[in-house]
């Protein structure tokens, strides 16, 4: 299939404009293997840092879902070198430094925002956290329980609870059993496997020059070395609930709310192997497609989320069937060449918006460095057949995770597809 010349020209031209307007990514690697991406921007006296540790399937033993989240909590509540956790937090607050940590299916991230005058302290504290944190075994049960509360969140509204349940991949979703099964050795092994400079990427953005960045990173993270995993004396125990956690897990697909109408939802998780380019285009093309009415779709980090609010008794009964019918209709119909060209053109324009968001520039640099970024060449080469094949794969009915919230009486009348 030939690629429309206009689309290629538009894309190339946009790339040039964007590159001129945004900070250039400069890279360097420390002797210990830590890769650093540097984006220099002196507009404001702020420095941002994001340290990303990638996760691989082998990092997580079977039946230990929640291990990354629990490890992050242990890091945040443990001593770092000679600093107790409270003292560590006070040092951050003394300089107004923001430090947050998150875990998702792809990795662990620490994000820092500091005034440029506090950049040494900010990077120094991050280094302390990564290199000198000492886990306390007596803290494990407290953090395990806190981790479950963080996952469970019973105070959320029913709609929020349902969406949260659907967004989670069952294969990596922490459960009472999986959290309870995580042993002390699992934590230490996970830390030794994942917390290594050669698996990390540090992205720096803001008011510091390249030479300054090199000096700062070398001083703070240059001595970071991997730890040896502990030697297991016995095989990992099978997953059984911890005595500290006794509450039953929430149902993953039905949430009762007396006196309300039915909300039916389905999440189509992003399939493995979907190219970033096809994912970007479909996330723009699918939501709001007229064929879906009255179903609404939004593109979420975990996939495409379809929602149908049933407002009459007739719709309530067939809500689930209607939602699946609409998704299947779109899957079969696919998109046209005109749709593809419009979406591709929107992508080229969207890149300008990154200049408004330092975090987006950092995300794009990291995605590029880890091979997850959208490339202009691949975008131009993507054809309609590939796009529609990606759509069929993404909306595969066998992969949908469905759920319903609403009045239990109405739920009884609901006909399952």
């Amino acid at each position: 299939m030939r690629i429309p010349l206009a689309a290629v020209l538009t894309t190339s031209l946009a790339s040039v404009v964007v590159l001129q307007a945004q900070p250039r990514v400069q890279t360097f690697t420390l002797p210990n293997g830590l890769r650093v991406l540097h984006l220099e921007d002196h507009e404001h006296p702020l420095v941002r840092a994001r340290l990303h540790l990638s996760l691989r399937p082998a990092d997580l033993p079977p039946g230990r879902q929640g291990l990354p989240e629990l490890a992050l909590r242990m890091f945040a509540h443990s001593e770092a070198g000679d600093l107790k956790a409270e003292r560590f937090d006070r040092l951050l607050d003394d300089s107004g430094i923001q430090m947050t940590q998150t875990a998702d299916g792809e990795g662990l991230d620490w994000r820092i925002v500091a005034r440029s005058r506090d950049q040494d302290r900010a990077l120094g504290l991050l280094a302390d956290r990564l290199q000198r944190t000492v886990f306390d075994p007596s803290d494990l049960e407290i953090q395990r329980l806190a981790c479950w509360r963080q996952v469970d969140r019973p105070a959320d509204s029913p709609h929020a609870q349902l969406e949260r349940l659907l967004r989670r991949d069952p294969a990596s979703t922490p459960t009472l059993t999986s959290l309870g099964a995580i042993a002390w050795e699992d934590l230490l092994t996970f830390r030794a496997l994942v917390f290594r400079p050669d698996r990390a990427v540090l992205v720096l953005h803001g008011d510091l020059g390249l030479e300054q960045a090199k000096r700062l990173v070398l001083l703070s993270l240059g001595t970071w070395t991997p730890q040896e995993p502990p030697k297991r004396t016995e095989p990992a125990a099978p997953a059984t609930p911890s005595s500290a956690i006794t509450a039953p897990p929430a149902s993953p697909s039905r949430i009762s709310v007396i006196g309300t109408g039915l909300r039916v939802q389905a999440l189509a998780p992003r399939p493995d192997g979907l190219s970033p380019e096809a994912a970007w285009l479909l996330a723009r093309l699918v939501p709001g497609d007229g064929l879906l009415f009255p179903v609404r779709i939004s593109a979420e980090p975990g996939g495409l989320l379809a929602t149908l609010d049933a407002d009459t008794s007739a719709t309530s009964t067939h809500a689930w069937a209607l939602l699946h019918l609409r998704l299947e209709a779109l899957r079969r119909r696919g998109f046209t060449q005109g749709d593809l060209d419009r979406a591709r053109s929107a992508w080229a324009e969207t890149r300008h918006l990154d200049s408004l968001h330092p975090e987006a520039q950092m995300d794009a640099a990291l995605a590029e460095a880890t091979g997850r970024g959208v490339s202009a060449e691949r975008m131009a080469a993507l054809n309609l057949e590939a796009l529609n094949a990606a759509l069929r794969s993404w909306l595969d009915p066998a992969q949908l995770r469905s759920g319903v919230s609403g009045d239990p009486e109405l739920m009884k009348t609901l006909v399952r597809p």
Partner: protein, 550 residues
Amino acid sequence: MHLLVPILLATLGLQAQAPHPSEVQERRLANGARLLLVERHGLTAFHATLVFQGGRAEEPASAAGATDLLARALYGATWPEDLAPSNAQAQLESLLKQEEGLLESLRLERLRRDPATSQIPALEARLDAIQTELRAHFSMSPLQDLYAAKGGTQTAEATADALMAHTELPQAAFDLWCRSEAQRLRSVQLSRFSQARAALAAELRGQGVQGLAMLQGAALPGHPYGRDLTDHLPALEALRRSELRAYAHRTLRPDRLTIILVGGLSLESALPQIERSLGALPLPPDAEEAVLPEIPADLGDRRVQATLGGSSRLLTGWRIPSRRHPDHLALDMAVQLLGGGRSGRLRTRLINEKNLVQKADLSLDRPGGRFPGLLVADLSPVDGHSLAEVEAALQSEILRLQQEAIPQDEWQRALAQLEAEHVRELDEPASLARSLGLAWAEGGDWRLIDLDSQRLRTLTPDAVQMATRTWLSPSHRTTVLLEPAPSASQDPLEAAMARVLKALASSRIEDPAQRERLVSDGLRQLRMLSAEERRHTLKLLEAQLPAEKR
């Protein structure tokens, strides 16, 4: 040695300066709209925020939810059919009017609940036919949205004090943005009104009773700041498209609009286009200013106990002055000392030292800052600890803040956090525009964001203690104690109360919308009683029902 000079000069030149409001250029347009422009060289895109002063607080009860609906139906997307001149849209307009009539008939028919003579199936079929016809006029792909096609994004939010619409677009689309925004306000087409209203109603139903809404209702009775939109669902569902359009024309006026632009645009290039578009919007005749009741801050110590699904939670709110009041900054500092960062007092003492609380959040200006609002503490106890313990611990911390000298290191820490937050706030175009917009909508002057930062340097611990003694006193306080329901999502006592109130109301009030509102209001007030008092009230109410309805 001679190489040192250029290196030093280059280094100095690279040092960034803290952003300053002198960067903000202000112009007043002929129709009364304000333009605030912050030029950021080198950006190839711009962020635009339109701020309409007013918001939920100025909605009359009959139009409760109008600001939220406008955020969704007017500013949720930019469809070409909504921006065409009205004379080219005669057929669409006719269909929208038919849809409005059918929706209203259907609503009334559903309220009548008489299966024998029900017209519901016939009305639903007619509505379905009209909506199918309507969809033929609608854009069928999100990429037909004018901004999305240009790579842009668009969001809108309804706050207590304003309607704010945020757009980001590449620089080259600035002219398109100017024309589209002017046309949007001229036509107020609202072609997808029915979808927006249904989605909002479903969300409100799904979220159920919210702790914070309960607190606001009890602490600010009779004031729109205390209004819970879920109590006004019948009014929201009765609001018609034509009524919302009329409301929009009255309230989204140029003289209540501030346009905020941050990006690579210069004033010289942007101003003429803004003047030709948004600056040329006609100014409607003066509308009546909304008169809002004043609530005395020392209304008395109020308590609400309720059982909601979920977990235990203590919500305490103190009535505080508006954002323009001299004590407001001192209260901001008090929030920082108590709940700011990772080492605020509540976190240090109640979470880390006593292990009494699992979560402690403090916030200021709930739900808004234009009028006297609330300072809210939201605490969740650790399992095994009661709400009474948490309440006592919170009160101890308030008393300590009021009575004991604030240590110097703690003061400096809180100051550093507020200063750093200010720098972060001014950094990104979106957060800068939002801060400027809120300062104008709540405080009447966008310069407040810098004035507060300057006043912070001269603020003293004594002033903070004085302000907390004045405002965080029991007579200004309202406490909501939420206990989890054992199994069901709704408290059985509340369910029984709702049933009895509905039965009583149906025998005395004709209008179904009024009836449902009365039941909602009644339930809200009854939640302020203890469980024993509520059981007693239920018996009294049941006694008024005929025997067959008990």
